[in-house]
Amino acid sequence: MKPTTRRLRVAVAFAVLLTGATACSTLQAGTNNSSGTATPKNVQIVVDTGPGGGSDLFAREIVKLAQQTKGISSNWPVISQTAGGGLGAMAYMKGKANQTNYVAAFTSKWVISALGTANPPASLKDLTPIAELADETQIVAVPTSSPYKNFKDFVAGAKAHPNQLVQTGGAVSSVDNLIALKVQKDTGTKWKYLSFADGGPRITALLRGDAQMMIGAKSDFQEQVDAGKLRIIAVFSDKRMAAFPNVPTMTEQGFDLSALPAQLQFRGIAGPPGMSPAAVGYYVGVLQKMIKSPGWQQYMDSEGDTTQFVTGSALTALINKFTTSMTPLVHSLSGAGQ
């Protein structure tokens, strides 16, 4: 075969591939803009985790309950934009400015992701907050065999063995590490942080004895506590948790939490920049109806979350306060990393 025909064939095959790529971009550019309508149609909900991840399941649960409570009649497809712990999802929403048929299930993590990035492509302040729905109380767990009966014991242990004790959790920039760093700074102690991308290995690190402590949610620990493998030693709040009435709060144990936001892990719904007040009102109505259903209460109980329905300027203030109190912690992190 002649080399020219050969080259031609490769070129043709490649051209097909490129045509495919361009066709996709035309399609993407051609998505319709349905701003201005009273009731948004073809609503899509954006999340920052892959299928089966926390926010994905949260979004699907909301859609399911909103349908059950007759707030919405059609299904909202879930779009997952997983890049950069919320940065990708926020950038995606920023690109949908003024449209009323896109909402995002945000978490407090999105604030931290934007703080920890030099030039974030978008931040939660760019979006239109619609409603906060839930807050997840942070609690502290240790293995049952641990000598630490409360958080004061743990801090004393960390004083006796500087940089020896290990806390396990997710990325360094996650809330559990940030609040631990605050305690370390306040008490003049230092312990290590062991990152695992998934929840499973964190629990096994505790059970194996590689890590001595973990800060997380009730749903992270409940089963292991029931099975007698883990013990809850503190609640990161000034109120005790109904599920663990005998566990004292950090405040009761003499730690000052006033510099930390009252809500550490919250979830809510936001729209793109410039979403019309009418559309915001529509979504608030749907969500308000949904959170009154028994199904929602059941879901909150099983997750160990508390319902926090905050909208409007109160929600903006909440996000602003969280941002201000977390900023120095996130910055101390990037300083330490250098």
Binding site: F14, V172, L194, D198, I203, T204, Q222
Partner: protein, 521 residues
């Protein structure tokens, strides 16, 4: 033995007509999803189907999910063997020998062996799960970052040993894979690496983009270059040639056994998963086989070993899920989510509190592979017909599927452009005879190795002694050294003996005969 009674009860429940019907639907659905790279991973399918399965009885819903899980897995092997497209990380290894077999006209036996070894392995897996769950669960808990880092060292060292003729080229491919794998936001420090400030690279490169480019599109590019008058593959006419022969089965017995055990144990480690299982199994089978020279050129053990591991892994993966409440991989984590939505808390108490759910799920996992075997053996002749499709239909179809697959992984056009880039790279690789599989394996294993290494050093305050101080880690390292030494010595000895390599033009006869000493020319 009460575990056995429970299992038999579970089988009884799973065998009800309704459950069987949903399992069948699940298997078919999973097969369809797995065969089309565009439709996404089984984890995504499971998540999308969650609302539907929630309307079923918990047991029935979970049984259907188990069907999808198995169906998608098996389909991943099918595309790897027939078209050299691994749609799942665990089927990358099958491109080595499975596709070579298909090129020789032995696609049928390769697929049959994949189904048979899968069935045998999941039998082993479910029996092991029934009787050893508590013991293995304890072992799984003891497997921490240092142990994982040692296991990954084993895996990465053997990537090169699989490279084929030129270890240098294998090393180049592996190094590129490690490099591409570092792209993204680093978990441990939160720093960005090679993202060039682009949000599209924060999450790194998608596996499916890399694999479609390096394998599927590159294959098309290389093939259209040569005008083909005759069909791509030799398609056997006789029915008997479509199924593995008795000799194939005898040859693979050891590989299936080894693969089953390896897959089960690695599947039980939290974060283990079938990719590492199938890979470790391939290298172990290759290094212990008498026919190790044939590997990479169409050895049927190279299909049986990893496929066995790939399937017994499901049994192993259920151990952390059911006994500790911890998912081992993406698919089991979706099943975990489903259990939660049904209001069943999986965890150490699941077997005590909800035996009516736990045991039928285990039983249905097992029945799933039986359904697949029954469903697929008669269908093999049909699948093999894919190879008869003329290239002017097949190639555009593959290109379209590749573009759709890359796009739909996360709805990003950027990924389609990356696909174009990786296709070019794959084409260059083929021209320079650099194997692409080491790059893909390094891409999968590299990040896990890196994270485990850094976690270990965090624990030990930067002392590398942690890897030999912990008994399991030390054992794994010792096995690594032994396998590497063994394969080096045996290669050296073979070279000294001047034994001929496997014929350069592969033939069906060479693949069938177990004798390596076939004269060249």
């Amino acid at each position: 033995m009460s575990a056995l009674n429970h299992l038999l009860d579970g089988l009884g429940t799973a065998l009800s007509p309704t459950n069987l019907l949903w399992m069948l639907i699940g298997c078919v659905l999973g097969t369809v999803v797995g065969i089309l790279p565009g439709l996404g991973s089984p984890a995504a399918t499971l998540a999308v189907l969650l609302p539907l399965t929630l309307r079923l009885q918990p047991t029935t819903g979970l049984i259907m999910m188990a069907g999808i899980y198995h169906g998608a897995k098996f389909a991943g092997s099918t595309t790897a063997i027939l078209l050299n497209i691994p749609t799942e990380t665990s089927s990358v290894v099958l491109c080595y020998d499975g596709h070579e077999l298909a090129k020789k006209g032995r696609a049928g036996p390769a697929m049959g062996m994949s189904a048979i070894s899968g069935f045998i392995a999941s039998t082993v897996g479910v029996i092991a799960l029934t009787f050893t769950a508590p013991a293995i669960a304890n072992l799984a808990v003891k497997f921490g970052p240092p142990e994982f880092a040692s296991l990954m060292t084993f895996g990465l060292l053997l990537v090169i040993s699989m490279a084929g003729k030129s270890p240098v080229k294998g090393f180049i491919s592996m190094a590129l894979g490690l490099l591409v794998a570092t792209v993204g936001v680093d978990l441990v420090s939160g720093a960005q690496r090679y993202t060039f400030g682009s949000i599209n690279l924060y999450d790194g490169v998608q596996f499916i983009t890399l694999t479609l480019g390096l394998f599927a599109v590159a294959e098309v590019l290389i093939n259209v270059e040569q005008k083909r008058a005759k069909p791509l593959f030799a398609v056997p006419k006789k029915l008997r040639e479509l199924l593995p022969s008795r000799q194939d089965l005898r040859r693979c017995a050891g590989a299936i056994g080894l693969g089953s055990v390896v897959g089960f144990i690695i599947g039980a480690l939290p974060g283990g998963g079938s990719t590492i299982g199938s890979f470790v199994s391939y290298t172990l089978v290759k290094n212990t086989s008498r026919n190790s020279d044939e590997f990479g050129k169409g050895a049927i053990e190279g299909v049986a070993g990893p496929e066995a591991a790939n399937n017994s892994e499901a049994g192993g993966a259920m151990i952390p899920l059911l006994s500790l409440g911890l998912p081992g991989n993406a698919s089991t984590s979706v099943m975990l989510a489903a259990l939660l939505l049904y209001g069943v808390q999986p965890g150490p108490l699941l077997f005590t509190n909800h035996p009516e759910i736990a045991w039928p799920v285990i039983a249905s996992l097992y029945l799933g592979t039986l359904v697949l075997l029954v469903l697929n053996l008669p269908l093999i002749p049909m699948w093999v017909q894919i190879l008869r499709i003329p290239y002017w239909i097949l190639y555009p179809t593959i290109l379209v599927l590749a573009v759709v697959g890359a796009y739909s992984a996360r709805g990003s056009l950027f990924d389609v452009w990356m696909l174009v880039g990786f296709s070019l790279l794959g084409y260059i690789f083929r021209k320079l005879e650099i194997p692409a599989a080491p790059m893909l394996m390094a891409f999968v294993l590299g990040p896990q190795f890196e994270v485990a290494l850094r976690q270990s050093l965090t624990l030990s305050n930067n002392s590398p002694l942690i890897f030999v101080e912990r008994p399991i880690s030390a054992t794994v390292l010792a096995i690594t050294v032994a396998v590497v030494a063994f394969s080096t010595v045996s290669r050296h000895r073979r070279r000294r003996r001047g034994a001929p390599a496997v014929p350069t033009t592969p033939s069906v006869a060479a693949a069938n005969s177990s004798a390596v000493d076939e004269p060249v020319k």
